[in-house]
């Protein structure tokens, strides 16, 4: 009987001692942490994609709590809703940020851009880019090996087998920028999603001279500048034989789309073209030129 008693007492004593030590230790080594960090973290989408520029949602939450002005900080995944919640928790002014979306600035499908050789190394754009300029005559275009798709954590990209180009599923894209970093050719760009997801961009990054670019790919931007001439808002610049539309200036008037001789300018999510009577000639009459 006494053995049982001694055993029970000893164990109970040990337990009590351990509890005291643990309590003391937890008091002594207590780290003060702003409780709002946890609140903010909970409000964030926990995607840990790094799209905000911080390593994970926790780090972003810490930064949000620390910063006096959070208008520069934005969670691309959560968007305005999440940022409003966060701003509410912290009692700070939230910034205005238009939602972004990734666009693929290459339209060099198999049809438009003939393959001149056959790549057969490791299936990785980065490996191919370290080796050479690619299967086609265009050394700026998409390799079609899917590093961007691999990098996407949101199931927002897939490789179109037919065209050999990546496709972005707009609804899933959170504009975290992982694909932008993964692309060795800097083809993918984050652009403003635009009202009703409508946007216009030059779907080409080829900086070769017009004739060379055109020879390599039917739909390459040849840097002719026609689009820049018709643009009423000075949104288009031509640099290194390549047109670029500044999405902050672009007002989606779409005047540049029809004048492009190679159809390199893409419009997305606009309603299907209605029959429009001789609208195309109008812009050519305006003598303004942005160059």
């Amino acid at each position: 009987m006494s053995i049982v008693l001694i055993t029970i007492l000893t164990l109970a004593g040990l337990g009590a001692l351990a509890a005291v030590i643990l309590y003391l230790a937890s008091q002594k080594f207590k780290v003060f942490e702003d409780p709002r960090i946890n609140q903010v973290e909970e409000a964030l989408p926990a995607a840990n994609c790094g799209g905000c520029g911080f390593p994970g949602c926790r780090a972003f939450a810490e930064a949000l709590v620390k910063a006096d002005d959070i208008s520069d900080l934005n969670c691309p995944v959560g968007g305005a809703d999440v940022m409003a919640t966060v701003a509410n928790i912290l009692g700070k002014e939230m910034g205005k940020s238009d939602p972004l979306v990734a666009v693929v600035r290459c339209n060099g499908t198999c049809e438009h851009r003939p393959r001149l050789n056959e790549y057969e190394g490791a299936t990785s754009c980065a490996v191919a880019a370290a080796l050479y300029g690619g299967e086609t005559g265009c050394s700026y275009g998409c390799y079609g090996l899917g590093d961007c798709v691999e990098a996407c954590d949101f199931n927002a990209m897939y490789m179109d087998e037919k065209t050999g180009l990546p496709v972005i599923i707009e609804d899933n894209c959170v504009a975290c920028g992982a694909c932008v970093d993964a692309c060795p050719k800097e083809i993918i760009e984050l652009r403003k999603k635009g009202p009703k997801s409508r946007r216009i961009f030059v779907s080409c990054v080829n900086q070769d001279k017009g004739a060379v670019a055109k020879k390599a790919c039917d739909v390459a931007c040849i840097g002719c500048g026609k689009c820049a001439k018709v643009c009423p808002f000075d949104a288009i610049t031509i640099e290194n034989n390549l047109a670029y539309i500044d999405y902050d200036k672009c007002r989606l008037c779409r005047k540049c789309v029809p004048v492009c001789p190679t159809n390199a300018i893409h419009e997305i999510n606009f309603p299907p073209p209605k029959p429009k009577p001789a609208k195309e000639q109008e812009p050519a009459n305006t003598p303004e030129s942005s160059n």
Binding site: E120, S124, A126, Y132, G134
Partner: protein
């Protein structure tokens, strides 16, 4: 037991089908394309204009820095254009395109065949001359030769090693140079010895070239300080660090140059070019190029002018076979696959290899079975399987601590992998990325 290097190594099939073919002079092309970056280091700068009349051997682009090299016109004629064209890598690089008119050489060049053994220039003059004549490592690395001949302060060279290994399968240009230009080669060795102020030179030759070993041994019988060292056949013995290990048993430490262990290595082709530059005042405007392959009807060794299009060399060797799958600039282990046959040969082109379709494809990649064969063949004692994962997953700090930068890109790991894994593809990528990090750190 013949000497060889101490770690790893593989034995790819030799297939030196053009070994018995003597060097033929390739007819002049109609137009040459001379790239401005034919060497490691800064590209050369040109002041030529379209329409300028130039002579063979005239400087057409000046060295762009200490680690750089002059470029001389390989032909005489008129500058057609200064342009940017797609080179072997598929990217656009600046070139000078020259329309060939006759073959009028610069007067300063001695074109006679007579052997000139007496070395009149001093060490410094030799180094200067080698730099002026645009000589670079002709084994493929294209490192400017005069830089190698000028050891950094505090370092001393005590042995010159001449690389006659030619461990790449198929290639035979160095082999033919040793057989046909033996006398010139020995004088070249003596010039390099004088430049480096050393009294010992060793020519390393693999045992699969007994005729070259025999020939050079006879020639050097009465030469003081020049030895011929036959080596056991093993790839990549032609790698600088492996060759030093094989010949004199010294291992160059990680990240260091051969001069660290008192050795300087020059290729056979480079040595011949040094002879011609110093004794004959002839710049590096032509080189021996092997054109070979299982389907090539006339495998040959050509003496071709720099800037000749690859297609013309293949034409001279009997044309491109019907079932061609791959054309490689260089050997099968380290050469670059060409996407375009109009690219010119450069100072570093040792061969053109044409592979038929059945040999041009890789086999499907399978899971790593951890057999460890890549580890045991790696001549640098690295773990390719691990480096590949680290490069693929971008664990670059770990890749760096696993010595990824030591990789010499010999390809032994990919060659030997039973699961056909693209080990070197990823290691090369990882090396590039780690290299960037290291450069940013400094």
């Amino acid at each position: 037991m013949l000497k060889t290097f101490s770690l790893g190594g593989i034995h790819p099939a030799d297939r030196k089908i053009s070994a018995g073919k003597s060097i033929e002079v390739l007819p002049l092309p109609k137009r040459v394309v001379v790239p401005l970056a034919q060497h490691i280091g800064a590209p050369a700068k040109t002041e030529l204009k379209k329409g300028d009349q130039i002579k063979t051997g005239q400087v057409i682009a000046k060295s762009g820095g200490f680690v750089s090299a002059n470029i001389h016109s390989p032909v005489s004629g008129k500058v057609f254009k200064l342009d940017e064209v797609v080179d072997a890598s598929g990217y656009r690089k600046p070139v000078i395109i020259i329309d060939v008119e006759g073959d009028e050489w610069d007067e300063s060049i001695d074109r006679s065949e007579t052997l000139k053994t007496e070395i009149s220039l001093s060490s410094e003059e030799i180094i200067k001359k080698v730099g002026e004549m645009g000589i670079v490592g002709m084994g493929g690395a294209t490192f400017p030769a005069h830089v190698k001949l000028s050891p950094p302060p505090g370092k001393k060279c005590d042995v010159l090693i001449i690389n006659g290994v030619e461990c790449e399968p198929f290639l035979t240009s160095d082999h033919r140079v040793m057989l046909e230009k033996g006398d010139e080669l020995i004088v070249g060795v003596k010039i390099l010895m004088k430049a480096l102020k050393v009294d010992r030179a060793v020519i390393g030759i693999e045992n699969n070239k007994p005729d070259a070993i025999q020939h050079l041994t006879t020639l050097t019988e009465n030469e003081q300080g020049i030895e011929i060292q036959p080596l056991k056949v093993q790839y990549p013995q032609g790698g600088e660090k492996q060759l030093i290990d094989a010949v004199i048993g010294r291992q160059v430490p990680s990240g260091k140059l051969p001069i660290e262990v008192g050795a300087v290595v020059h290729n056979v082709g480079t040595t011949l070019a040094v002879y011609e530059a110093v004794q004959k005042n002839k710049p590096l405007i032509e080189r021996v190029v092997t054109v070979t392959g299982p389907g090539v009807s006339k495998p040959s060794n050509f003496l071709a002018r720099i800037g000749t299009p690859v297609s013309q060399l293949i034409e001279a060797a009997g044309g491109l076979p019907d079932n061609t799958g791959k054309v490689i600039g260089g050997g099968p282990m380290m050469g670059k696959a060409l996407s375009n046959l109009e690219v010119p040969i450069t100072k570093g082109s040792s061969g053109i290899l044409v592979l038929p379709h059945e040999e041009a494809h890789r086999k499907p990649v399978e899971n790593c079975i951890r057999c460890g064969k890549c580890v045991s063949v790696c001549p640098m004692g690295l773990e390719p399987y691990l480096l590949m994962i680290e490069a693929e997953k971008e664990l670059l700090d770990r890749a760096e601590s696993d010595n990824i930068m030591d990789c010499i890109e010999c390809g032994s790991c990919s060659f030997t992998c039973p699961a056909n894994r693209p080990l070197l593809d990823y290691i090369r990528l990882g090396k590039g990325n780690v290299g960037k990090i290291i450069r940013n750190r400094n």
